[in-house]
């Protein structure tokens, strides 16, 4: 445990305990007003909890409560926060905004600018370098703010909804960039998008009304949600395995045809992800376009909204009650789970 946090903030009904391993990225999900941004602000040192303690690599960030007043100022915490609002410094150009962090860390001006240019290019905002923040569109500002936070190269990176306001081309680009940057880095990322949580984080926590209601590896939480909120998130099928040319071979030797999200090298570890709603259930093998057809044994049936979730070991399918009745689905029955390759995304693990 090299990062630990315990914090209570009564005014916002916030009471959270959290710890991060070195290099671990945690995604924070939860409804509006649950305390996600508050959590980041507490870690960054912008909001002072009523009591609690935080420590990173043996350094105490704060220790507050009866008689305790240890408090490390934000700029010494080694954290960088991408807040929900871009908050670009209005008097500085875009380039100077991004160079601000490196400059503050003592990097010489020229090098800081080079670094800023690098990160601007990474978020596809290189041509905005000379503008003032007031001359940017919402999505442009969001990207520049992301570049500014990334340019700091902090011990703990705190990202509050980094992908909102982005267009359909920019969002995947930034998602891939974050995936790369967050690899092996301690980070906390707030998002409303399950796919982001899955792609970017090792672990997910769900915050509801200021408290953590779920905490665990992303796959587990998404697959078997216990909280009301997480239950609303799609229960993704996640199959780990080895990347192949056209998809992924699971540990059990099943071949999944799918879409490679990124250029992936065959042989590397990967995961196939697809929603239960994309899985069709057949009693017999049928010859059709779907590339994936697996013979499985139904283990469980449970209602899921107005659908029936059919579990077969690690995999699940959502079907209408009518279909379930029609096919006579019951635990122990052997069926075929059929999924189109277009519905299966393959990610690096």
């Amino acid at each position: 445990m090299t990062f630990t946090l315990d914090a209570v903030l009564a005014a916002r009904r916030f009471e959270v305990s959290l710890s991060l391993e070195p290099g671990e990225t945690v995604a924070v999900l939860g409804p509006n007003g649950a305390g996600k941004s508050t959590l980041l602000s507490v870690i960054a040192g912008l909001v002072r909890p009523d009591s609690g303690r935080a420590e990173v690599d043996g350094r105490v960030l704060f220790e507050l409560g009866a008689g305790m007043h240890t408090w490390t100022a934000p700029h010494r915490r080694g954290t960088a926060l991408l807040a929900q609002d871009p908050l670009l410094f209005p008097h500085l150009s875009v380039l100077e905004n991004v160079a601000f962090g490196p400059r503050s860390a003592g990097v010489p001006r020229k090098e800081a600018r080079d670094r800023a240019r690098h990160w601007l290019a990474e978020v596809d905002a290189g041509e905005l370098a000379g503008r003032r923040p007031g001359e940017l569109s919402g999505g442009q500002a969001q990207r520049v703010a992301a570049a500014r936070a990334l340019a700091v190269d902090p011990d703990v990176l705190l990202l509050d909804e980094p992908l909102s306001a982005l267009d359909i081309h920019a969002a995947p680009l930034l998602r891939r960039l974050l995936k790369r940057v967050l690899a092996g880095r301690r980070a906390v990322i707030v998002t409303h998008d399950v796919l982001d949580a899955y792609m970017l984080a090792d672990r997910v926590i769900v915050l509801e009304e200021g408290r953590i209601t779920e905490d665990g590896p992303t796959r587990d939480v998404l697959r078997r949600p216990r909280s009301r909120f997480a239950a609303g998130l799609a229960g993704l099928n996640l199959v780990p395995g080895t990347v192949t040319a056209g998809g992924l071979r699971s540990g059990d030797g099943l071949d999944f045809a799918g879409q490679h999200d990124d250029p992936l090298a065959p042989g590397q570890a990967g995961v196939a992800a697809f929603p239960p709603s994309a899985v069709s259930v057949f009693l017999d093998e049928a010859h059709g376009s779907p590339r994936n057809s697996f013979r499985v044994t139904v283990t469980d049936l449970e209602p899921h909204g107005d659908q029936i979730r059919v579990r077969a070991g690690e995999l699940s399918a959502d079907v209408t009650p009518a279909a379930s009745a029609d096919l006579g689905l019951a635990p122990g029955l052997e069926v075929y789970f059929v999924v189109k390759a277009a519905a299966v995304s393959i990610y690096p693990a």
Partner: protein, 281 residues
Amino acid sequence: MGRPRGNAYSGIPRWVVAVAAVGALLVLLPLAAMVARVNWPQFIPLVTSESSLTALGLSLRTATASTALCVLFGVPLALVLARGDFPGQRLLRAFVLLPLVLPPVVGGLALLYAFGRQGLLGRSLEIAGLQIAFSTTAVVLAQTFVALPFLVVSLEGALRSAGSRYEAVAATLGARPTTVLRRVTLPLVLPGLASGAVLSFARCLGEFGATLTFAGSLQGVTRTLPLEIYLQREADADAAVALSLLLVVVAVVVVGLSYRGPAPAGTGSRPARSAGGQGTA
């Protein structure tokens, strides 16, 4: 049906413009009347006389020095008052504002009591070889004393209006408080700092009572332009008016050059994200 010339929104109700016109008249009319009264043939020799020019030079030098001191001490004071949170803050604010209401002559007396030969610190200063009263230093001190609150009040208002969101962001990016101050806080409140400095400079330039009492009236050393005007008035009020016109012209030039009323873009607290509704023109 307003007609903004830029492409930003600016809706000023028409009656506001009318009231503003009356307000402007209130100020402009006396000035115009004054200009009308100037005895022009007498004007040039009067304002170019050695004593006038000496006084003008002294006024500009001391007002500049005093404004610098006001900025030096006023910015930290305003910061502490606006951002700090300590017991006695309101009391400190009230005290810092006091020179505003003290009749300047009394302010001069207070300075004498503090820094004069017979004053609180006078003895110690004299031992240190420093004679403040009745020197140019005294003029600067008197001007700083009366002008400091102007800077503090304007700047504190601007700091409070600007809020501390950008400062917080800068801190999370690793900037030390000093860096935050230099690169974020001060640039953001530049309009407020500028108006504060202008007010201070103007107050220094017009300072009369405290200077007379604390620094005396010695040509070239402590006799600033307002003191010279006072003396001229003893003889001839019109001469005083003519000299005042010189002061006014100097002030307009200095203020006009230094205080451009910074463009709304890039100022204070306009958040970075544009809602598209804020043209910069």
